[in-house]
């Protein structure tokens, strides 16, 4: 009868380290994979060395393996990987940086926010986001003027995650950025506060030339939950994009804006059933009895979701 070991080996870091010195890059690459799987802190310095390996495939693998670790040492290694001339290694390092959680890692990334390469700047900012380190605020605010929009988007994220009231002016500025994706991010990031200046900036974005920014604004207004957003949202009910009208309906329902009820009624006749349903739901939330007869017409809508929502709204309105 054979003798066998039924458990996965825990991986002997020293033994794997030997293979990291093998002349064959494929062997070194496989060693890097195994080091990651040990999940042992002792593997980090070895992976930090491997991320400087002459062979790009080894560096790539080390950059991926470092995703299994947290802390300053791993962050330093990944920061160097982020600057790798091999695009795949740099991309892998950026992905792994986004896994960091421990704020201790911030000092490894902060200097890179001014790096000459936009990819490095954006990657460093992306890594900083989840660390929520207050030290990142000033550099991120400066990065809102970065020439590269992808870096500006990440800078908005860093600031948004911190939820600091002193960040409002920067985010409001970013809501007027020339790049639509930056404006969209800023509009989303402003949703954490009930400050009137935030609501105002978000409401202004309902006139944005880009439909996705307008949709984000309509949604954010519902989250911000400041009542006088209603007038702006009512305007958005006439937006040319149904996606924006839909978000505006949801937000008006959430805010229970009685004054908006009349403006919502025409949307019960939208062609897309999704919007008829949202309109009925919003009227149900608002609870204005003036909507009863219009909702009654929708109680037999050909679309089941619309009729169910209309009936639900009617019970709420006492109709």
């Amino acid at each position: 009868m054979s003798v066998f070991e039924p458990f996965e080996a825990f991986g002997d870091v020293d033994e794997i380290a030997d293979r990291l010195r093998d002349p064959d890059p494929s062997v070194r690459r496989l060693a890097a994979i195994e080091l990651g799987e040990t999940a042992s802190p002792e593997a980090v310095p070895l992976l930090a060395a491997a991320i400087a390996d002459p062979a790009p495939e080894v560096r790539r693998q080390a950059a991926r393996a470092l995703a299994d670790f947290d802390g300053i040492e791993a962050a330093r290694a990944l920061a160097s990987g982020l600057q790798d001339p091999d695009a795949e290694t740099a991309a892998a390092a950026a992905e792994s940086l986004a896994e960091l959680k421990d704020p201790e890692a911030a000092p490894a990334l902060l200097p890179l926010v001014d790096h000459a390469d936009a990819f490095v700047r954006a990657g460093a900012l992306r890594g900083l986001k989840a660390l929520r380190s207050p030290a990142a605020f000033a550099p991120a605010a400066a990065a809102l003027r970065d020439p590269a929009p992808e870096a500006r988007v990440q800078a908005v994220g860093v600031i948004g995650y911190l939820k600091l009231s002193e960040a409002l002016p920067s985010l409001i500025g970013a809501a007027r950025d020339e790049a639509a994706e930056v404006r969209e991010a800023a509009i989303n990031a402003l949703a954490f506060t009930r400050h009137p200046s935030a609501a105002e900036a978000v409401a202004a974005a309902l006139d944005d030339p880009d439909w996705r920014v307008r949709a984000a604004a309509a949604e954010s207004l519902g989250r911000i939950g400041v009542g006088d957003a209603a007038a702006a949202l009512v305007g958005a009910l006439r937006d040319g994009f149904w996606q924006v009208r839909q978000k505006a309906l949801v937000s008006l329902g959430k805010l229970r804006q009685r004054s908006a009820a009349q403006a919502i009624l025409p949307l019960l006749d939208e062609e897309l059933p999704l919007l008829r349903k949202e309109a009925a739901a919003a009227l149900g939330e608002i609870g204005d009895a003036g909507a009863i007869s219009a909702l009654e017409r929708r109680a037999d809508d050909p679309d089941p979701d619309v009729r169910k929502t209309a009936r639900w709204a009617l019970t709420r309105l006492g109709g």
Partner: protein, 578 residues
Amino acid sequence: MDEIKDGLAEVACDVLVIGGGTAGPMAAYKAKVRNPKSRVILLEKANVRRSGAISMGMDGLNNAVIPGYATPEQYVKEITIANDGIVDQAPVLKYARNCYGIIEELDRFGIRFQKTENGDFDVKKVHHLGAYVLPMPNGDTVKKALYRQLRREQILISNRYMATRLLTSRDGHVAGAIAVNARTAEFLVVRAKTVILCMGAAGRLGLPQSGYLYGTYENATNSGDGYAMAYHAGAKLANLECYQINPLIKDYNGPACAYVAGPFGAYTTNAEGSRFIECDYWSGQMMQEFYNELQSGKGPVFLKLDHLHDETVTEIETILHKVERPSRGRFHEGRGTNYREKMVEMHISEIGFCSGHSASGVFVDDLARTTVPGLYAAGDMANVPHNYMLGAFTNGAVAGEDAADVASGIDLPEFDMAEVEAERERVLAPTRREDGVPPNQLEYKTRRLVNDYLQPPKVTAKMRLGQLRLEEVRDDLDTNMMVRDAHELMRSLEAASILDCADMAAAASLYREESRWGLYHNRVDFPDKNDADWFCHTLLSKKDGRMVAEKRAIEPYLVQIEEHERSAYDRQRILKQA
């Protein structure tokens, strides 16, 4: 690799977790953290790195109960109604209360949930009744993050061992399990003080319409071994007639993902482009509507995305083609289906047992304890209805902690070596035949019979005939099955589990003489719901070598369902005839 070796080893531990998919890793982790001195073994038929339903991640948490969005009580109400009232609410309430803490913990593990620009969970509402989804657009790293935690806690992992039977002591306490190596056929006896079964759904029960044995909705590794093992150990299994059936992309057998595409504005329609689903809950009732539409002149059924903006479709595609069932994109490509131009044809899946999506599972209480002392079950195979991925994690955690506590207070139970010997004989019998039927043919036949005779609409006379035919297959399996290597040996053991599940599906379906849960238990000769006689669980178990069925009362509700809430749901019920 794959040649059959003669080997037998014995190891012992405090807590044995079988199945390292979703619930299992969490159970093992929690058991170890609860009692760091304890020895915890995680046994897995595949490899924990990429095993289970969440092998490539999931699109999102389907049933997140997050403070500020939904309350535990609301959730319990919904699940009770969606499950036609046949629910013990205590485990559901416990899940609802614990699951947010688990989300936060998973987030700390490095599992990536969608966040807003403020770093908060980006919860999406599915419909006005309060179903909430938390997307995981980069969820393909879920298993990596779990594996990392297991390594950090130094949990003993045995990959490629297929558990085949549980061991019990003379007084009926669980004593461990027997497993077979999937590549060498060597035997491993794991003695344990407590055992947690996390072996997923019985996903290879019905045959997919494509005829491909592994083209199942569920991860095809989940062949119902957990159900079979629980049964043979004397545990009770609840409501197995409440099958799992899911809407799918036709032929691809992956979800059509209304949950992902829904929040973006996509929806399910008939061939006329009209919505037809009346039911508010993901339930057998909804599946009945789906089935009826497929059978009607308005079928087939489609997922409609062609009204969405190009950029939105691209966003949906990046999620759907990366996570969960990432080969979906390749399937569409092969057929020239572009979401922007064509609606996607949908269908319904083969039948299976699963509590993750339905309510068919091993009976457990709110500590995940089965009816066998020391034996626990969590995830898809434990009957906490509709608990999905987050339920697997949350209830796995509950099981892990309680099993660690119980184990710390008892000695290693004794077991009977004769049981091991008998199991070795059963397992190895097909290797000793020179000639016979290979497991794939036995499996194909069993599953084809399941489709022909046990799939709803269920007809009494047909199910009885089905039982007779399945008995013939069992005869072949017992006396005539033949395997040539260790890999085939694993398949032969799976074929046996599948056959056990088919027998249970027939027995449970015949026992409940009413219709309930929409399509799941649509019994043509008992077309009505009959609360007077059948407002209860049905339990199957093995007594003196025979399969017996019994009723069990529903525990008094902790969250009351108002009469008007229930009747509103009942009014949605439709005639079963298509």
